[in-house]
């Protein structure tokens, strides 16, 4: 148990570093709020290893800590809603066994962005729907990148990362 908690804590720390690295290379010139979402590759890695509980704990810890450290309580609503709902979908898709980790990640990225835009819709009104096509495309592309990273890390860490 202690070993697991330590592992999750370390993974959550990696997530925070990923978030920091990402803030250095801003993609928001394409459309506001577009990000690669590197830290999601950690949650995806845990999903790929079949550890759904771990994926949720690491992701929620990461979201709470990063909004506490780097942003406002208001953006917490966005991150939490997108993060949790997309992770639920990712786990369900993984359980069907019909999709590869990259395909699952693409779906997760798109769902993440659609959920966040839905939250923005309720908070700001229908004008934000203008961004929908951009957000779907960027979610799909970054999802593919994240899925690729997760698959790579998963295969490289097979020997010593046993969950």
């Amino acid at each position: 148990m202690a070993k697991k908690i330590t592992l999750y804590a370390m993974l959550a720390a990696i997530c925070l570093v990923c978030g920091y690295i990402e803030s250095l290379l801003s993609l928001s010139f394409i459309a506001p709020g577009i990000k690669l979402g590197l830290s999601n590759s950690i949650a995806l890695l845990l999903v790929a290893k079949g550890d759904f509980k771990g994926a949720f704990s690491v992701n929620i810890t990461r979201i709470l800590l990063s909004s506490l450290l780097f942003s406002t309580p208001f953006s917490l609503v966005f991150s939490l809603s997108g993060g949790i709902i997309s992770l639920i979908c990712v786990c369900l898709l993984y359980k069907t066994g019909k999709f590869s980790i990259i395909g699952i990640s693409i779906a997760g990225g798109v769902i993440h962005n659609i959920v966040q835009l839905t939250v923005a819709y309720f908070l700001l009104g229908n004008a934000v729907l203008y961004y929908l096509p951009f957000l779907i495309i960027s979610g799909g592309v970054s999802g593919a990148v994240i899925g690729f990273i997760a698959r790579l890390v998963s295969s490289k860490t097979d020997k010593f990362l046993n969950i």
């Binding site: 019909k98 999709f99 395909g103 934000v128 729907l129 096509p133």
Partner: protein, 105 residues
Amino acid sequence: MKKGDIFIIAAVILAVVLSVIFGIGLLGEKGNTVIIKENNEVVYEGSITADKTITLSHNTVVIKKGEVYVRNADCKNQICVNHKPISKKGEVITCLPNKVLAEIR
């Protein structure tokens, strides 16, 4: 890649096409009215041709020569300040941390 992935990619492409078709009515056309909202309440509504500087509690929005942009914001990310000026129907500039939205209709 597995077979099921094709469905995911097809669904994503379909979603993009639908959202573009749905949104196409909003794109392209020059707008007439500028609406500025703060905390989901309309704080300014006026013609896009009338040059004006609107000071909100955390942001300054400028309407000039038929274009709208945000000059100042006290938030950290400055996304709205870096956003290019808007002038077409349906375009928006949002400042999520301060719940500000500038929209053209």
